[in-house]
Symmetry: C2
Subunit: 153 residues, 2 copies
């Protein structure tokens, strides 16, 4: 499996970082004994699931936990590649609509508008790795472009 | 009343902006008929009140509402002076400890660590105006220093 020219199972890849974040939840019990692929499957949403869940009202709190894990892993992959520590901030505006940012120093390293987060997930593990690596690349480029801002206090 | 060389009652001052934010809450009723000073007093915490409130546990939800109003008014004053729209994001980490940022484009315009937010408030209206103007000046300077980043997408 090769994605965006990078082996997703290689050291320092987004997917390996994400697995470590998922394993970091192990105290909670449910991940014990699961393989990496089984852990990653919690972020894979099949077409058949997309229409599921409450069509109206507040999203499932688990969705925010998955968003935190996904963007948290993006942030720590960026940190591993650049040395810049990234902080995650999330603002939900109203039903399922929000803003997620990763901040490094005084720079907004990654910024994404979230829409319809009741459906947060990816069609496959390849798509998940691809989305993560794309955000990591974007973040690394921002830091390379504005290194002084990213190291500012 | 003059603060930091700026008349706090002048057009475009932080205090005038904050009053507009407080008046914007008028639909809720409780502000009807109150003077500007009475509205601003909701952000003034006397010494005698500082020990009050629950000493442990989660902060009063009203505290977050006051923090949003205060930093929201900082953001809109910065916007008025620079033309850069600011977004507020707040992350509470654990009991009363958190991070609040104002983002303009790709720049972290203002960043503050909040400690012990159960006691969010200022000893006087002068101190409130001073704290707000200081944050506004800091934000305006950041934008002047990195205009390209503040206008980035």
């Amino acid at each position: 499996m090769k994605l965006a020219g990078r082996d997703p199972a290689a050291n320092g890849s987004f997917l390996v970082e994400l697995v470590q974040w998922l394993r970091g939840q192990e105290d909670d019990g449910p991940w014990d004994g699961r393989t990496d692929l089984e852990l990653l499957a919690s972020l894979v949403v099949g077409q058949e699931d997309r229409g599921q869940g409450p069509p109206e009202g507040d999203p499932d709190p688990d969705v925010f936990w998955l968003i935190e894990l996904f963007y948290g892993a993006v942030g720590s992959t960026i940190q591993r590649r650049t040395g810049v520590a990234c902080q995650l901030l999330l603002r939900m505006h109203h039903e399922g609509f929000g803003l997620v940012v990763l901040i490094g120093g005084r720079l907004v390293v990654v910024s994404r508008i979230l829409r319809d987060v009741r459906r947060f997930g990816f069609p496959s593990i390849e798509a998940l790795a691809d989305a993560g690596e794309k955000l990591v690349s974007e973040g690394v480029e921002m830091i390379q472009r504005y290194p002084e801002v990213a190291r500012g206090t």
